[in-house]
């Protein structure tokens, strides 16, 4: 008993405060991660789940994935989806951040209101965009026709290719606020004096942007892009509600394909192998990011 007391006397008393949360996370996140790895090394599907048979088949599920055309397509789709979203949400977010850095009367209010898309439940966002992209009642087809961009209505969500465009547009809409707010905060840390002395030296706006703003904003830009990558790469609800991965798997992402395998086709082991591939990629990117940001920070 006395030993226990000495152990908790100084810094280790922190353990008493953190353990409840830590144990909770170990039970509901740590254990599932391990059990998912194990599951992906077995052969569990709806055929043998009830019987309780769990054959250990090592990496056969993973090897099998590389002969699975839908999996390979999902990898490609996930990359196309993530990179397109990153580019557009960053560019739009950056322009908005630059606009809000001007001190006009509405700047703060409008910046606040642009945060709304980020707060929406993804299911609702998916519904709204599914409605707007729908073939006959969709407002997007109407506007495009009015502008003379299209002759007849496009079947956005039921044509491969355009379906991908639709889900990207919806996800960019969600991602803009996040980019805007982080870049906007980053901009406020750049000292005004730099711009003033640059003006005195005769620099134009473009030079100020490329010589002052972009270099000084680099750490913020890096974290916005890496975090954006992590969130976008694992997007699930949005695409699942809008297209369920279709038409003809053209919008299947690793996340939606994994869900479909496990809960539609009841191939639990194969589904968890796909999920693990997704997690592994995120983990590598995430740890790289932590390594960059934690440098210089003592903890």
């Amino acid at each position: 008993m006395k030993k226990v007391k000495t152990f908790f006397r100084y810094d280790n008393i922190g353990l008493l405060f953190i353990l409840p949360a830590f144990i909770y996370m170990m039970v509901f996140v740590g254990y599932p991660i391990l059990s998912n790895i194990l599951l992906s090394l077995q052969d569990v599907s709806v055929r043998n789940l009830v019987k309780g048979e769990k054959h250990f088949i090592a990496f056969a599920n993973y090897v099998g994935l590389f002969q699975d055309a839908v999996f390979l397509k999902s990898v490609k789709n996930t990359l196309v989806f993530t990179i397109s979203c990153l580019i557009f949400q960053f560019l739009i977010g950056f322009l908005l951040a630059l606009l809000f850095s001007k001190r006009f009367s509405f700047a703060k209010t409008v910046r606040g209101l642009t945060m709304i898309p980020w707060m929406m439940p993804m299911t609702v966002t998916a519904l709204m965009f599914k409605f707007m992209f729908s073939t006959d009642v969709g407002i997007i087809n109407y506007i495009f026709t009015k502008l003379g961009l299209i002759q007849s209505n496009i079947e956005w969500l039921t044509t491969p290719g355009t379906a991908m465009i639709a889900v990207i547009v919806a996800n960019v809409w969600i991602g803009i606020p996040f980019n805007t707010i982080l870049l906007s905060t980053g901009l406020t840390t750049i000292p005004q004096e730099l711009y003033e002395s640059a003006s005195v030296d005769g620099a134009n706006s473009f030079q100020k942007l490329t010589r002052i703003t972009l270099p000084l904003l680099r750490p913020t830009i890096e974290s916005v892009l890496v975090l954006g990558f992590i969130y976008t790469f694992k997007v699930y609800d949005l695409v699942y509600v809008m297209t369920e991965g279709g038409p003809v798997n053209s919008t299947h992402l690793l996340s939606t394909y994994s869900y479909k395998l496990s809960f539609d086709m009841f191939q639990y082991s194969k589904g968890s192998a796909v999920a693990n591939v997704l997690f592994l990629i995120l983990l590598l990117v995430g740890l790289l990011y932590l390594k960059i940001t934690m440098e210089g920070e003592e903890d």
């Binding site: 949360a21 642009t114 003006s199």
Partner: protein, 281 residues
């Protein structure tokens, strides 16, 4: 960015530009709201009407009366699930973040890293094992399963946000409390938590929003439509009445009521959470 004060003309110009951009950006919401008050016939009219020519509140009313996809019922489910998840997340994350901010205990770095890594987890990794676990715990098909699962999104986020709040509180404040005879836990509850209250509010809001927006857990762990959260209700409804847009948009509007209220009354906390949260779930 470079001018401290704008001329009157420029001010008007920027205000106009920003309002136009805002209208474009928020158009989907406006359009959904307008559509929810139109009759099904008017929704299909070409050219589309920019406001409901015939006000129709039936899409909302019908949902109160019929039991099958009762949106107010699923609203209540979502509310209970999100509240439960928020309570768990706040109760566990507040002391945990204090520990990380204040004490250099054994395993601190590893635990911090653990919280960071959980934020990168895709839901699909957890779904099947959690599904099996909840079934074994006899919690499958109850609110409890969704509550426990949703809290795992709020906890790491809250820990990471709050540790900065606690770290910014001067240690002298705590020491003064010890001299006055407070225990560690007493000082934490009576001095530190009240001082860190804005941070606690941010955590509660985000934990609530994450749980409110969740679809995967609610849909996978709860089978009965009467117990499912509103997001799963919308998803089911879309599957069955895919093009009944008057009902669907009304459903969507009901689902965003709490989000709207939180935005109106707690905007400053949201912006603080987004900028401090480094990694969101």
């Amino acid at each position: 960015m470079d001018e401290r004060r704008l001329t009157k003309g420029k001010n008007i110009l920027f205000c106009t530009i920003s309002v136009i951009l805002l209208i474009v950006l928020l158009f989907p919401l406006f359009w959904t709201l307008i559509t929810s008050f139109k009759t099904e016939k008017e929704i299909f009219r070409i050219p589309p009407t920019w406001y409901p020519h015939e006000w129709n509140t039936k899409s909302y009313a019908a949902q109160i009366e019929t039991g099958d996809f009762n949106m107010f019922h699923s609203f209540f489910n979502s509310f209970m699930i999100s509240t439960g998840a928020t309570v768990i997340a706040v109760v566990l994350a507040v002391p945990a973040s204090y520990a990380i901010a204040r004490y250099k205990f054994a395993g601190r770095k590893a635990m911090l890293l653990g919280f960071l890594v959980t934020q990168m987890l895709p839901v699909s990794v957890l779904l099947t094992p959690m599904f099996i676990m909840f079934r074994n715990m006899n919690m499958y098909n109850t609110w409890g399963a969704a509550i426990l699962a949703d809290a795992t999104i709020g906890i790491p986020f809250s820990v990471l946000i709050l540790k900065n709040y606690f770290a910014s509180i001067p240690a002298a404040l705590e020491e003064a409390a010890y001299i006055d005879g407070c225990t560690r836990f007493g000082a934490f509850m009576r001095i530190l938590v009240p001082v860190a209250k804005p941070g606690v509010v941010v955590c509660a809001i985000f934990s609530f929003l994450y749980a409110w927006g969740d679809l995967a857990y609610g849909m996978t762990f709860i089978l009965d439509q009467e117990k499912r959260p509103i997001t799963a209700g919308i998803f089911n409804f879309m599957g069955q009445y895919g093009t009944k847009w008057s009902y669907l948009t009304a459903f969507a509007i009901v689902a965003i009521i709490p989000v709207t209220l939180i935005f109106i009354f707690m905007q400053k906390y949201i912006i603080s959470g987004m900028t401090n949260g480094a990694v969101k779930g």
